[in-house]
Amino acid sequence: MTKHSEYRDEVTIRFAGDSGDGMQLTGTLFTNTSALHGNDLRTLPEFPAEIRAPAGTVPGVSSFQLHFGSKEIMTPGDICEVLVAMNSAALKANLDRLKRGGTIIANSSGFDKKNLNLAKYPEGKNPLTDGSLADYNVIEVDVTKLTKDALADSNLSNKDVERSKNMFVLGLLYWMYDRSLESTINFLDKKFGKKPEIAAANIKVLKAGWNYGETTETFASRQVKVKQASIAPGKYRNITGNDATVLGLVAATKQSGLPLFFGSYPITPASDILHGLSRHKNFGITTFQAEDEIAAISASIGASFGGTLGVTSSSGPGVALKGEALGLAVMLELPLVVINVQRAGPSTGMPTKTEQSDLLQAVYGRNGESPVAVVAPKSPADCFETIFEACRISLEHMIPVMYLSDGYIANGSEPWRYPQVSDLPDIAVKFAPKSKEDEKFLPYKRDERLVRDWAVPGVPGLEHRVGGLEKQDETGNVSYDPANHQKMTDLRRNKRDKIADFIPEQEVDSGNEQGDVLLVGWGGTYGTIRTVAHELRQEGMDVSHAHIRYLSPFPKNLAKLFSGFKHVIVPEINDGQLVRLIRAELEIKATAINKVEGLPFGVEELKSRIHNELEMLNSKENSELELPHGI
């Protein structure tokens, strides 16, 4: 049998099955192998919203999408070309994510009468046989049976045999994409170190899957090769956004030399940060699962009052509960980092779906004039640097910082060229020194950045009282004096604004420094917008892309940068929030492109919406040209 290899520069695969089918692990292992192979990649897992939805049903489907290539890969892919469907429900739930003409690898035993019923296909209808999939390339493989056959002479229980069927699929896909089995074999040996018979069985099934590809007619001409990507040299690992956030916090603890207190209350999709940090207590970290969101932030404020870096995490609804306490931290002028892993709102909304609709909440969402700093990571790996920045700004400027991640980057993963500790910057902490004899300590005395010193209990002579009531400048004594309130309001705002002197100026991510169109994004849409900008330039358009990490205060040169473009277009996964900030704070005319479906933009989708917007903008311009004085 001759083997044909086809070279491709990118591939998107979607693994889908019942929650119990191990699709997340299968996807992760394929990801790791592809990373080791040298591909650039992005992943996106999607879990069912219910913890244990009934097996075989559509709500019980769990999927994992992987986009890998030999070119720069910035998104998990709009749609996939290969869909692995372990059962009928998985096919039903994911078919609309498969490209026309794409390949479906269907586990045929997942399409028996029982599974078809559970997936609510009409009685007597089987998509594999009724012709409804004529537009696709369907490969039926009886994974369940082949797995059983491979393990026929083992003593494993039926349950253990059944459980290893994902390895068959993985082996088969490894053959299809010409990947090495080595890292997965190592993984299995390690994972089942104490149960070598299970490890051996899984490896056997993995190899059986590979061999099936190698020897079966259907696959004979289907091997696809994806070469290494040209990636900056260095050492890499794969990382999710939530994990990178955890590591960034640990790094900030180390680089500031401070202990860290993390107060949190479980909430999707932020809980993994609590889980992750709670494993690293030997780094000077205390984690506290509080009785509620308010206690979580309050305890963190208590820790900050005592000289520890207080951090709290949540998602939108929880952050709403934290609002009052956040205002207290603004008044106290203490360091505090508030992590918001955004999800679709309002109210409980769609907990497992992504959205970037808490930006205005972060910037303005408290009672009174209550300025905080706001930063947002752009990708899973960027969470590391951005949370580190959040800690740095908070500690160096004695101000609460909101960090806006989102469900999409929190769970998504990408290769990360991880830094060496020796490359990390230091974070400078300034404690108030012991006061001199007979000198009255002034807790709200400020330096040239308008930052007060951090006076911590235990230091003799600095005994002082702080609180949520308006305070007199310098002394911190309660004051209702009108002029003082104006002054303090100005000071708190100016202190926040002065952070702009200590953050990098805004750069163009790609494209020209000035020109026709500037696409402006923030947060998790980075990869999509970057890809879109690139593709639009390839179409011959003059399109640049700027990505804003520092959302409050904005980088100083932002307005100037924007004014160099004819059109500023702001795509967001919300109803228009950054665009409002840009219009209001910078007085720039900007065009909004919004989507609120709980899903990220697709590259094609965003491209066509940009084309539409530009068409409208240009036709408006032309009509304005015809009517120079307007009507």
Partner: protein, 360 residues
């Protein structure tokens, strides 16, 4: 402090010269700050402030190591008047803030100052969770059975039927019994005192301080403006002997003007008896601070009939005090054990993670 960091170094450096161990010979007024006290004249808060300040020299802690944390309410102004570290926070959250502080700075003496609304309405959740965790803080709950700062609405401890600004036709809510709530939350130290008995109050403050764990001291505090005389039955010279009973560990429950009445337990049913030839103090209920069942019974000397059979005097003193690991100790212990087990942290190894690859 749990971890050896720039924080621990900063604090210990700053203490150099002030000899860590040595406690200056403080007097009560060393603890009064330069701020004018702004409570209404005649408010019960004044006595409590005075007794706390008086107790401070006896707690054996340097004043820079003392922190008062309050929420919102009349009582919450308290930290401003103490020349220690202080934090006047937001409504109901003092216990949660104190938890974060104590867990990270266990060497500090942390005091929570709260009121009935602050602790039992808006902050009820933090109140019970501090108690069940047994965070080692002293929790002074000033109970005046009214909202004073917002000018006279009923509170969660106002008796049902209270006519207040927000309940002109009488309140309908059943009142909380703070000590039962505290016991129900598995508090390890539950005590009661009153503003009008400063000597006993002072004793109770010191007892609360001695106890390791959340020391919950309810203090009956007269709000002279909005709820004057709410505790008159217990504070008036006339009625006091018959209506109050002072608890002492190991001593029989005796009360009355001539110390001639007592409480006896008929199996687990308490009854008021007259001491006479037939009933001696030895026959009475002997107070045992460590008996949780009896503590619960005592806490129910609360919603009893106002007179006659089944009416009991209100207990003051320590109802319950037992040892249980406190949360901040457990946190420290666990952190240290993890440090020992995992060894000096290696951030480079952590950043690298389990699986890496190199691009050349």
């Amino acid at each position: 402090m749990v971890f050896d960091t720039i924080l621990s170094k900063h604090v210990s450096d700053s203490k150099n010269g002030s000899l860590l161990e040595e406690i200056p010979n403080y007097v009560g007024k060393d603890f009064s700050s330069d701020q004018d006290v702004r409570w209404c004249p005649g408010c019960g808060d004044y006595t409590i402030l005075k007794q706390v300040q008086n107790a401070m020299p006896d707690i054996g802690v340097r004043k820079e190591d003392v922190v008062f944390i309050s929420g919102i309410g009349c009582a919450a102004r308290f930290p401003y008047y103490m020349d220690t570290y202080g934090l006047h926070s937001i409504h109901g959250r003092a216990a949660a803030i104190a938890t974060g502080l104590k867990v990270t700075r266990p060497e500090l003496s942390v005091w929570v100052i709260s009121g009935d609304g602050d602790s039992l309405s808006i902050g009820g959740n933090h109140f019970i969770h501090a108690l069940r965790r047994n965070v080692n803080v002293n929790y002074l709950l000033f109970n005046n059975e009214i909202y004073g700062l917002t000018k006279g609405q009923y509170s969660p401890t106002s008796p049902q039927g209270s006519t207040t600004k927000s309940t002109p036709f009488g309140s309908l809510d059943h009142a909380f019994n703070p000590l039962s709530v505290a016991l129900g939350a598995d508090g390890t130290f539950v005590a009661r005192a009153m503003d009008r008995d400063p000597k006993h109050l002072n004793e109770m403050i010191l007892r609360a301080n001695q106890h390791r764990g959340t020391s919950m001291l309810e203090i009956y505090q007269n709000c002279i403006v909005f709820n004057d005389g709410a505790f008159g039955l217990f504070t008036d010279k006339q009625s006091r002997p018959a209506e109050t009973i002072y608890l002492e560990h190991g001593k029989p429950l005796i009360f009355g003007k001539d110390k001639n009445r007592g409480i006896r337990l008929d199996s687990y049913k308490p009854e008021v008896v007259d001491l006479n030839d037939d009933i001696s103090p030895d026959d009475l209920w002997i107070h045992d601070e460590q008996d949780s069942y009896k503590a619960h019974l005592l806490s129910r000397f609360f919603d009893t009939p106002t007179s006659g059979e089944g009416h009991f005097p209100r207990p003051f003193g320590v109802l319950y005090a037992v040892e249980r690991d406190c949360y901040d100790d457990l946190v420290c212990k666990q952190n240290l054990a993890i440090l020992e087990k995992k060894g000096e942290p290696d951030l480079d190894a952590l950043l690298e993670g389990p699986e890496t690859w190199e691009v050349k």
